[in-house]
Assembly symmetry: C2
Homo-oligomer: 207 residues x 2
DNA sequence: GTCTATATACGGATAGAC
DNA sequence: GTCTATCCGTATATAGAC
């Protein structure tokens, strides 16, 4: 009984620090965050960070890896389902990302800027290999598409458009809201509209 | 004669440091750059940075302001020309940004992440006020568009799409190239294609 | 496990020689 | 104007008490 409590207690403190770190790192980036900020945010002391995680860097890498995987793995269920059409997949994927990013609006800038700062280090660990690609229903349907419609351009453009129109507005949100005087709530409403609009535009691109 | 030489020499050193700073800041971000890095990159000594610019922060603000204005002012000629149609303006704007970003691929992530880190401070200085908006041919034509075509949604979506599809690929370029195995040259070729493609897609959205 | 106190390193800035 | 040497605050990490 005592042992179980101890484990839970440990896990809880460790998890609280990790969550605090996630918030601070995501908002300020690796270089600008101070371990003291994480300690304060977590409600625990500075020394605990090194007790549970060996260093600021190790803690960061753990969190960063989770974020990268979140982007990828969270959509695996959607894109690997052979029962849904390509257009349905795209629609679900857009909805999924918009919902996720409404709760974590800093994520795109954070991930992109950290990957940019250290591409080799971070991307090497994202091991979901290029081989497994073949198995995904998404990739199969994508290839069929490329073959059927004779698009006069690389179909990668379309995927890029989906991600651009979905993710970029969150990255540009501070600038956008400043220039237009929009509130966060209004911005979120705008993104909610895009759940329907983006699939519509993409549909037209595939005509 | 001597005076002129001195001035030119000063300007030259000062400008070299500024350019070095631009490179380092843009690539690593404010928090991660060391004044020593800038010194090394410039070929001069650390002390010169404080001699010409009072501090790391002042130097940064100067460069950041130039970047922000680059984004805005460089397109002013395009968007304020009453002689071109809205669609032509959009096409020119896309071309312009793609050309600029091919030469400065780190710029989007840099600007977005720094604005995100300190929105109040940076955006307050971007003084091109909301009032002058009225005078721009772009804004006029945009309003006419909103009135004429009865788009069932906020036309801001369209502007957001233009910027998203143009700028986001550069921000995601390291990830994209890693996942696809694309080279920088291949990526640039892809972006070159988008100079024609994006206006085409936008045209369809305005049907 | 959690805290306080401290060692150690690093980074921004300046003094002062040339 | 430009350099070397150095001051001093701050940040990460650890030692050691509880």
């Amino acid at each position: 009984m005592k042992k179980t409590e101890d484990i839970e207690k440990n896990a809880s403190t460790e998890e609280k620090i990790k969550e605090a770190a996630r918030r601070v790192f995501t908002q300020k980036g690796y270089a600008a965050t101070r371990t003291r900020d994480i300690a304060a945010e977590s409600g625990y002391n500075l020394a605990l960070i090194n007790y549970y995680f060996r260093s600021k860097e190790k803690l960061f890498e753990m969190i960063m890896l989770e974020h990268l995987q979140l982007f990828v793995h969270s959509v695996m269920g959607i894109v690997s389902d052979p029962a849904t059409s390509l257009e349905t997949k795209i629609e679900l994927l857009i909805s999924h990302y918009i919902d996720m990013l409404k709760g974590n609006p800093d994520l795109p800038i954070f991930v992109l800027s950290e990957v940019n700062a250290n591409p080799a280090k971070l991307l090497s660990r994202l091991g979901f290999s290029k081989m497994k690609h073949e198995k995904l229903a998404f990739v199969q349907q994508w290839k069929e598409l490329s073959a059927k419609k004779k698009l006069k351009y690389n179909p990668l453009h379309i995927l890029l458009n989906v991600l651009s129109m979905t993710i970029f507005p969150f990255a540009a949100s501070p600038l956008l809201r400043d220039r237009t005087g929009m509130s966060v709530a209004e911005f979120n409403a705008l993104m909610e509209e895009r759940k329907k609009l983006i699939p519509m535009w993409i549909h037209d691109m595939l005509k």
